[in-house]
Subunit: 336 residues, 2 copies
């Protein structure tokens, strides 16, 4: 199993990307990594860790695409960038099963479509991060920002791709799909979701109906379907609110001497909470609907997040996610 990692473009490049990749190889002895980026810098990083040099290949790339670059332009013109070289290798080489990048989201998505190519039956590939639920489970939110203006058929495909993903990577047999709306009643929604609701009812998936955003993280759903604008608002509101509650808690504790004393006994419990909420441990967001497995790690990913993203990519490739998405979409189109 060979995975390609875009070592540059992240906030913690190259350190976290190299270390995370090595750590993933330690966990999976059958894993080989192709590292893309400035060869000498990568070699310097590699010196820090014990590793099997025979399992690491380096593709030299001197340029880097940053968040300041215009994505479409950068993919076209920065031919020597680590991202473009990684995408080209991912596309052309059959031995490479998937890719991880912590670079500019726009560039990774644009590059995925133009360099790797979308699956023919997929109208719009989508970003599908997985969030933690109250019950200790996982819920996939699709789309989360790749497509801010959507037609109904985009969302029905998101539902199918999200279901394939949760089945392949999390082993959920019959993923429960909810449609993000303004109420649980069948008739609630806007023009877009009302159309999507009707279509999802007819599809060979476990569609459980409209979902109110209050219930997004209850664990009652495995896949949440929405357009990329709404998904982005949902994801970022959840992140922002969790951060706000934690900071209000800290303030409340610091404002009281007895609470400060009490908190000494709670370090482990607070640590566990922080851990449970830690997005880093969940890897990255898969970009579903392109011809090969791609995972977009958070720009600020540390080595733990990169390790998780690499192992997640392995799992997606092992379970033939791309083939299963193709198969399900073809079946859907033949039924129609």
């Amino acid at each position: 199993m060979k995975i390609i990692v875009d070592i540059f473009g992240g906030d913690n490049s190259p350190e976290a990307l190299v270390k995370g990749s090595i750590d993933a190889m330690t966990e999976r002895s059958d894993l080989e990594i192709v590292m893309v980026g400035d060869e000498s810098k990568i070699a310097d990083e590699l010196k820090k860790y014990k590793h099997d040099a025979g399992k690491i290949e380096i593709i030299d790339a001197k340029d880097v695409i940053t968040n300041d670059d215009v994505p479409t332009m950068a993919i076209k013109t920065k031919k020597e960038s680590s991202l473009v070289k990684a995408l080209e290798a991912l596309k052309s080489r059959e031995d490479i099963c998937g890719m991880v990048s912590a670079g500019s989201t726009g560039a990774v998505l644009t590059g995925g479509i133009f360099k790797v190519g979308r699956i023919k039956s997929v109208s719009r590939p989508a970003l599908a991060p997985v969030l933690p639920t109250k019950t200790g489970g996982n819920v996939c939110l699709i789309d989360c920002g790749a497509n801010v203006d959507c037609r109904p058929e985009f969302l029905t495909q998101f539902a199918l791709m999200g279901s394939c993903y949760m089945k392949a990577v999390f082993g959920i047999e019959n993923p429960r799909v909810g449609l993000v709306s303004v109420g649980v009643e069948d008739k609630k929604g806007n023009e877009l979701t009302k159309e999507v609701f009707k279509a999802l009812k007819e599809m060979p998936i476990n569609f459980v109906g409209n979902m109110e955003a209050r219930d997004a993280l209850t664990g009652n759903y495995d896949v949440l379907v929405c357009d990329g604008f709404v998904g982005n608002v949902l994801l970022k509101t959840a992140e922002g609110t969790a951060g706000m509650v934690m900071s209000m808690l800290k303030k409340a504790i610091m404002g009281s001497a007895s609470a400060k004393f009490g908190s000494l006994f709670m370090k482990k419990a607070f640590g566990k909470l922080k851990n449970d909420m830690d997005y880093n441990r969940r890897g990255g967001a898969p970009f579903l609907g392109v011809e090969k497995v791609m995972v977009k790690a958070h720009g600020g990913s540390n080595d733990i997040a990169i390790k998780a993203a690499v192992l997640q990519t392995v799992k997606m490739a092992e379970n033939n996610l791309v083939a299963s998405i193709k198969q399900e979409l073809d079946r859907l189109q033949n039924n129609e």
Copy 2:
């Protein structure tokens, strides 16, 4: 100052509605309340509390609109309902300055438009709840569910109405308006928000640009503008996430004996946190853009929430919110 309260239709009707109204009158000695609903039930509730009967008027209404009723139909046909009778009195009587209802949101909004009437220059009245921020302040989210499909001009009017509200009720001189989007950069957004962005730039308000949902509660904004679908998702995600973090915290504490011991010293700090996050203390969501002051309290409001909603209604009326919205919108239209 006379306020009308729809005593029925809430989850805790009539108890919480009557008690909350009486408590508001205790705080504001110049306040009179018109209570609408089953006269004998209201009289029974009133017996429980010390009150000045000369300041309370009861309008008898035997019927109730529930969440199961179709809003437009219910407003047309349930003429003896507490909501319809309250709306009619609000419309026709000059001595009544504003109204509070904890009834069906759809019915309150529909009734507000059809019975009370929208301000002529307002295309779509909007629901505008206020949320707590990290810095202990308040931020108004408009629209929050009244209009799930919006044209750009609706949102520019929301921005203006939200600004008037934060100025009138919270005394903020020059409210900072953010447009809910998928990134802070000027060009980020969907078709709708890109149009709105251009229009807001030209308007006589303090428009500070696009806002990422992660920053909704940071205290960097006073008014957040979005369509009602997005606003509803943002509000409910924030509520749901706050609840999830608290329940994860509880679970982490309960799973450790030392943390459980420590938590004994933190009761006050946890209480403060719960209090700071308590939506009940913030009253209800004003329905802005109709000809009189209307506040929609949460269906599950307790007496504290009702008291807050009544006092909020008083403040909106005292500060001539409807007149100031009219003036600002007229000015905007004359400029165009």
